[in-house]
Amino acid sequence: MAGSTGQGEAMQAAPDGAQPERAGLRQTTYLEAIREAMWEEMKTDPTVFIMGEDIGTYGGAFKITEGFLEEFGPDRVIDTPISEAAIVGAAIGAAHMGFKPIAEMQFIDFIAPAFDMIVNFAAKVRYRTGVGAPLVIRGPCGGGAHAGPFHSQNVESYFANVAGLKMVAPATARDAKGLLRAAIRDPDPVLFFEHKYLYRRIKEALPTDEEIVVPLGVARTHRPGSDLTVVTYGAMLYKAEEAARTISDEDGCELEILDLRTLRPLDTPSIVDSVRRTGRVLIVHEAPRFGGFAGEIAAQICEEAFEWLDAPIRRVTALDTPIPYSPPLEEHYLPQTDDIVSAARWLLAY
C-alpha cells in the first residue's frame, strides 16, 4: 500500500482501441475494467465472491473494490486478516463447494507467503482428486511506480513450471476486463497479474452494451508487421509499441507485436505462425532475464520454428537483480524502449 503508486499521473490512451466517447462506449481505465469485470460477474453469478486485505470497508489498496461491500454485503466481500495462505486456502475450499472465489493479493509480491498453498494445493487438487478449484488469484504486479523491491515484482516465472495453474497478464483495459471474466468462469485456478503501472494510465473506450469475454490461451496481434516479431505481455506492450513506431519511422521496417495475454496455457501456434512469417523474434518482458518466462517462449520457438529463423532469438528484459527503489536506478533496471529499438535493429541487421 505504498501510497504513491500510480495515482493521479497522466493518462495515456491505449495505442489501439482508444476511441472517442460515443453512445454505447465509455472511456474505461484498466483499473475500472477490472472493477467492472468483478462487479458484473458478482451481479450475474451469485457464486462469485471476493476476499482480501482491506477490500471491504476500505475499498481496496487501489480502490478497485470501492462500493463492493455496500452492494454485495460482508458475506461476499470478505475483509481478511494478513494471511495470504489462509485467503488462498479459503478460496480453494469454497471453490470445492461450487463457488468461484476471487482472492486479492494487495500486491502480487505477497503471493509468496501463499506459494505452497497455490503450488501444492490449488494446482494439484484436480489431478490428485478430481475435485476442481475454480478460483482466481489477482493482484497488482510490475515496476515503474517507484515502489521498491517488494511492491514491484513480476512473479510469473515462480509458477511457470507448475502444472495445473493458468496465468494471465492483460495489457489493455479491454483484455483486463474480458480476461478477468474468463478467468472467473474458468474451472481451474487462474493467476491474474494486473500491471499497476497501467491501472490509471490506460484508458479505452469500451462498449457498455456488450459482454466482453476474452478467452484464455489466445494471444492477440497488437500490431501486424512482416519484418520482426516482438513477443511480449503486460506493460512492456507499450514500450514495444513505441519501439515499433520508431523503427517504422526511422528504419522503414515493420515490427509485428504479439501480446500474449495468457502465459499458461501459452498460445504457441500464434507465436510460431508469426515467427515463421517474419523469421526474426525478440521476446520482451519486465522480469529479470535469467530463468524468466522468455526462456520457455524461446525454447518453444526453437522447437517449432527453427527452420524459419533468420537470426538468433533475442530477449530484452530487466537486469538480473531485485528491482531497486531509487527512481533513476529503477529506470536503469527496467527494459526501456531504447533497448527494444537497438535489439530490434541488431536483429534486423543480422
Binding site: 465472491f49 458475506d75 461476499r76 470478505i78 481478511t80 486478516p81 494471511s83 495470504e84 495462505a85 489462509a86 485467503i87 488462498v88 486456502g89 479459503a90 478460496a91 480453494i92 475450499g93 469454497a94 471453490a95 470445492h96 463447494m97 461450487g98 463457488f99 472465489p101 507467503p113 505452497d116 498453498m117 501444492n120 494445493f121 494439484k124 487438487v125 484436480r126 489431478y127 490428485r128 482428486t129 478430481g130 475435485v131 502444472a163 495445473g164 493458468k166 474451472p187 481451474d188 484464455l216 490461451g217 499458461r264 496455457p265 501459452l266 498460445d267 504457441t268 501456434p269 518453444q300 522447437e303
Partner: protein
C-alpha cells in the same frame, strides 16, 4: 454414560476394529512388497479419528491428516477402496495420482491433505465459507497434529476461522510426537489448550484414548458450530504407539509406550461396553470375527480387482497437458481435457 444407543456404540466399536485391522493388513502388504510405502498408522490413537468423525452427520465435511484413517472409514469409505488405493493401481476411487494415504472424497465429505502440513485447515475454512454462503447448517471438522500446528498455515487457518466465525471444529491431536521429534520440542506450551486462547476460540481437553469422550466433546463443538456460534477447538491427549511411518516402536520412550499401552482405546472401550452391559465378551468376539472376515474379503477383492496399472492408468481429468511431440514421452490420454498447452 454416553447418549449413544447400543447400535451406535457397536458402530463405534466396529470402526475402531476396522481401523486397526485395516492398518495391520496394509502393514502386512507393505512387508510383502505389495504396497510401496508403509501406512501412517494410528495405532493407539484410533479413538481420536473414529470418535471425532462420529459426531458428524451427512453433508458435513472432515479433514483427516494421514493418521486419521478411522475418520475416513466412519465417513463411509470402504476398506476395499482404501486397499485398492494403497495398491495404487487402476480402479482406485480417487485416481492413482495422489499419495495412497491422502483421501479426498467429496461425496463423503472428506478433504485430504497435501504433503506440506497445516494447509488443510485453511482449505476447510473455505468449505465452511461455502456452507455459510449457502446458508446450510453444515459443519467442518479439521484434524490438526501437534507438530502440524506449528506451521504458519495452521496459524493462519485457526485465526481465519475465528475471525470469520466459521462452522469449524478443530481437533488438535496431542500424541507426543511429530515424526522423530517429541511434541515438547515442537512447542514450549505446557498445556496445549493454551493454543486456543491466542485465537479467542472456546476449547476443551479430552482423553483422546476414550472414544466416548472424544465423541461427546466433538458433538458439543459440532452442535455449537451448527447453531452458528462459530469455531472451537478440542485438544485430544493421546499417544503415537509406533514410529512415524513404519512398525518400529515409537522412539526413545519405552516407559511412555508401556504406560499408554495400558490405556489402549480398544481394550478400554471393550471394558466399558461390557461393564455397562451393552455387550458381553462373547458378543464382542463375534463382532471382532465379523470385522476380521470383512477385512479378509476386502483384501482378497482388492488384490483381485487391480491390474498392473499401466494398461489403463486411472488419471483424473486434468486442466492442461503437453501436446505430445516425437521427442517427448508417449501421450497420456485424459478423459476431459479442457485446454491445451502446446509445446
Amino acid at each position: 454414560m454416553s447418549s449413544l444407543n447400543r447400535h451406535q456404540l457397536r458402530e463405534l466399536y466396529r470402526h475402531l476394529l476396522l481401523t486397526r485391522g485395516l492398518e495391520e493388513r496394509l502393514e502386512r502388504l507393505w512387508h510383502d512388497g505389495r504396497v510401496s510405502a508403509p501406512p501412517i498408522r494410528s495405532l493407539g490413537q484410533e479413538a481420536t479419528g473414529v470418535g471425532g468423525a462420529f459426531a458428524l452427520r451427512e453433508g458435513d465435511w472432515v479433514a483427516p491428516s494421514s493418521r486419521e484413517l478411522g475418520a475416513v472409514l466412519v465417513r463411509g469409505l470402504a476398506p476395499r477402496e482404501v486397499l485398492v488405493r494403497h495398491l495404487s493401481m487402476s480402479g482406485s476411487p480417487v485416481g492413482s495420482s495422489d499419495q495412497a494415504d491422502r483421501f479426498t472424497a467429496p461425496a463423503l465429505g472428506v478433504l485430504g491433505p497435501t504433503g506440506p502440513l497445516g494447509t488443510q485447515l485453511c482449505v476447510m475454512n473455505g468449505v465452511a465459507l461455502g456452507f455459510r454462503l449457502r446458508a446450510e447448517p453444515r459443519v467442518c471438522l479439521a484434524y490438526l497434529g501437534d507438530g502440524a500446528s506449528r506451521t504458519g498455515a495452521a496459524h493462519e487457518g485457526l485465526n481465519f476461522a475465528a475471525v470469520q466465525g466459521l462452522p469449524v471444529l478443530v481437533l488438535l491431536v496431542h500424541n507426543g510426537w511429530a515424526s522423530g521429534t517429541r511434541s515438547d520440542r515442537q512447542a514450549a506450551v505446557t498445556d496445549w489448550l493454551d493454543v486456543a486462547g491466542a485465537y479467542g476460540l472456546p476449547a476443551e481437553s479430552v482423553d483422546g484414548n476414550d472414544v466416548l469422550q472424544v465423541y461427546d466433546s466433538a458433538l458439543r463443538g459440532v452442535q455449537r458450530a451448527r447453531r452458528g456460534e462459530g469455531p472451537s477447538l478440542i485438544v485430544a491427549e493421546t499417544y503415537r504407539m509406533q514410529a512415524h511411518a513404519d512398525d518400529t516402536g515409537a522412539q526413545h520412550d519405552a516407559e511412555a509406550l508401556e504406560a499408554w499401552a495400558r490405556r489402549d482405546p480398544i481394550t478400554g472401550f471393550e471394558s466399558y461396553l461390557v461393564e455397562t452391559g451393552f455387550e458381553s465378551r462373547p458378543s464382542l468376539a463375534v463382532l471382532r470375527e465379523g470385522v476380521r472376515r470383512e477385512l479378509d474379503l476386502a483384501v482378497e477383492e482388492a488384490l483381485g480387482s487391480v491390474g498392473t496399472g499401466l494398461e489403463k492408468p486411472a488419471v483424473p481429468a486434468v486442466p492442461g497437458e503437453s501436446e505430445p511431440t516425437p521427442w517427448t514421452r508417449r501421450p497420456m490420454v485424459y478423459p476431459d481435457l479442457q485446454t491445451h498447452e502446446s509445446g
